[in-house]
Amino acid sequence: MTAAPRMITLASELLGPVPADEHVLQVDDLTVGLRPVAGDSAESIVDGVSLTVAAGRAVGLVGESGSGKTLTALAVAGLLPSAIQVVGGRIELAGREVTGLGERDARAHLAASVGVVFQNPTASLNPRMRIAAQLREALPAGTIRRRARERSADLLRAVGIADVHKTLGAFPHELSGGLNQRVVIAMALARDPKLLVADEPTTALDVSVQAQVLDLIDELRERLGLGVLLVSHDIGVVSDRTDHVYVMSGGRIVESGPTAEVLGDPHHAYTRRLLAATPSRLEPVGVAERGQPVVEPAAPVADQLEVRDVRRTFTVRGSAGRARHVALDGVDLFVTKGQAIGLVGESGSGKTTLARIIVGLERVDSGVVSYEGNPLARHTRAQRRQWRREVQYVFQDPYSSLDPRLTVDRTLREPLEINFPGLSRGDVAARVDSLLDEVELPRAFRDRHPSELSGGQRQRVGIARALATEPSVIIADEPVSALDLSVQARILRLLARLRIERNLTYLFISHDLAVVRYLCEDLVVLREGSVVERGPTEDVLERPASPYTRALVDAIPGRALVRS
């Protein structure tokens, strides 16, 4: 699925490129608010946003969640949810003011001039229609049936899909996310729009696929003279792909200008904070900060955790019969005490399965997992209890990893009561307090429910829970991937500090090489259930030995940002 599209002539090319710098989108003082419901006062969520997108240019709109960037994009595309409406300001698209038009005209004009690409490609496609039918719908009204098929095929070729006919006949769930995103882009292009609104188009995709999709958008932009409004929380992506950037926070635009200028020399404090939190910008935690090396390098190092030739196959059952999915195909892994190992790979590479096997949430088909030189299968009761206590897990999803019914206090008490049955009530309470201190949460939070906590705070509770049993090994599965950048940075620093203070061994799983680079000295790269490369982090990132790792490294967005 490489982006090597046969050059296809699209209608807009025949018309000639749109003159550069002609504005395809002009938004003035846009205000978006909740449709007033009885009892609620109308509150505005987007407040006085103005921006322009020129033909053939890519404009970035960055900000964290809740900043209003997606609503701005949806307002432009005329796709606001029914509870939210444009309250004020004007939107001019391809030379025509949309805000003044009646509903029917507005819909027609919008459909003809804006293409939209969403975050989650598979969910953005109708699950029970074949691609061909969905593409046909996207074509301008009145396209003859026979022509429609050809047009659809052309569009797919234009977005770099090689096996056009197979794709046309497929249902969305039968295609990969990257392929689906290409289909969505093809649909967005079907009516030769002037503007492409891309709302987090790559967030749901693997890194290497991300790069391909962004390349495609770039290429189409240049070739068709499209204006692109790229909405993203990823500074790296915006830095790589846009000419001009708007930074949003709290529903307002706080800073704007040419991308290089804004990111190179941010004026607004918010922009600076955002940049500082970019993983690539985080300073690796050095030996100096860590203090003395935890383990004497000279001492004979015994592996604390040992994984030998582990295999695991899943059987996927469906109405069409069974399918086998090989998750792990003979993986070896050795973790010595005090080490921090990063486990990277794309989705489906088996990294999560491996982590779950190590903590006993998943069984192996074959192979041996040992703790402190002793295979798990041969543990005595006491050994098993010790392993259970000492190897802890931090979950990816801060939302589902906390029981919504339990307060922070009860969540933290659970492991204490199980593992230290001798503790008095007072002791337990004291321990809960000190755990909260350790993860930098106010003690008053102990009576809160998860719904009263932000994502970052929840993840801190999750970390505190893992620390409660006084573990020596922490296995963390994408602990920051669900968090906003600034929060992500703070959690990463917390993890780094805890490692030093508690002398912890880390097995850190991530798809984000930048994040791993910050926290881990050693790196293991997994691909389709096998280890393709391992070694010190810097070595692997600077001089990747396998082409796969190289592709991964190259795909990291925002390299320019790091060097700047």
Binding site: E200, G455, L483, S486, V487
Partner: protein
């Protein structure tokens, strides 16, 4: 760069979408919600029915007292719901009939809910063959309409309290089972349950700490729905002559015996029938209210129970 930072700024939600903010607010609103007006009305109706059937017997007369001088009298101040072919007061009979109906309904709904709960939790926690066996049991139950099973059992075993409760339980435990099982399996797959396992919690610890508290609201919903389905089934059995035996009054049976006089003395069949409907509506509204409050959508009754 200080390692310790103020954490209040840990804002933001997991998925970078602005709409999330709105959803968050929506969820808060949702949590504030109670069982809603309908739920309260349902609860009110039930309390009224319960009060009448529990307190009524203390004040009103004998449901079996016959008065051949006042046969088939229309509703009046003296006989609120009129009298039947034996001169018995229909109101008193409806009140007493309610006692039987409600006792049977409540007992069988409790037993059905507990049975469904235990089997569902066992299936969710132990998985494997336990889950397979309990699920097959549910399939077997579903393959025969409960009314058919009830008719078979009752007409051959006899129709006293225990067999009636037995068939009603047989007819409605599957609803609780499937509702709870689906939920429990989803909960068991949640990361917080895995977190508890990693923390060393055993099956019963997980059940006690996480599973049972989380299914309780659902159990309440399932209970009201079980109760209303048991009530309807019980009245159907009574109507077919397989329920509580005369002369003890029972709503369904009263409808059946009064049906012949429906053109000349409609009150005999109508009021017990309306009593069934009112109670069922009460349970239904309460169940819907609870379902909206705790589950976020409807749980269909007949769909599962029958």
């Amino acid at each position: 760069m200080s390692l310790v930072q103020v954490t209040e700024a840990d804002g933001g939600s997991a998925v970078p979408t602005d709409v999330g903010v709105e959803a968050e607010a929506g969820r808060r609103r949702l949590q504030r919600r109670t069982i809603g007006a309908g739920g309260w009305v349902g609860a009110g109706v039930l309390v009224a029915v319960l009060a009448t059937t529990l307190i009524g017997p203390l004040t009103s007369g004998d449901p079996l007292a016959q008065n051949f001088d006042a046969i088939l009298r229309a509703p009046s101040a003296g006989h609120l719901f009129g009298t039947d072919e034996l001169g018995r007061d229909v109101f008193v009979r409806v009140v007493f009939g309610g006692r039987t109906a409600l006792a049977i309904t409540v007992v069988s709904a409790v037993v059905a809910s507990l049975l469904g709960l235990v089997l569902a939790l066992a299936g969710a926690l132990f998985g494997g063959w336990v889950d397979a066996v309990t699920s097959r049991l549910a399939d077997v139950q579903l393959a025969v309409p409960s009314i058919v099973l009830a008719i078979v059992v009752l007409s051959f075993v006899g129709n006293s309290f225990v067999p009636i409760v037995f068939v009603l339980v047989l007819g409605s435990w599957v609803l609780t089972f499937r509702v709870i099982r689906g939920h429990a399996r989803a909960v068991v797959a949640q990361q917080y349950v895995e977190a508890a396992r990693v923390a060393g919690a055993g099956r019963f610890g997980i059940a006690w700490r996480h599973l049972i508290p989380s299914v309780l609201p659902l159990l309440a919903v399932a209970f009201t729905i079980n109760a209303s389905s048991a009530l309807l089934l019980e009245s159907s059995l009574g109507y077919l002559g397989l329920g509580v035996q005369p002369p003890d009054p029972d709503w369904g049976q009263m409808v059946a015996t009064g049906q012949a006089q429906i053109f000349t003395a409609p009150w005999i069949a109508l009021f017990p029938g309306l009593a069934v409907v009112a109670t069922a509506v009460g349970l239904q509204l309460l169940g819907d209210g609870l379902a909206e409050r705790f589950v976020g959508g409807p749980v269909t009754r007949r769909g599962l129970a029958r």
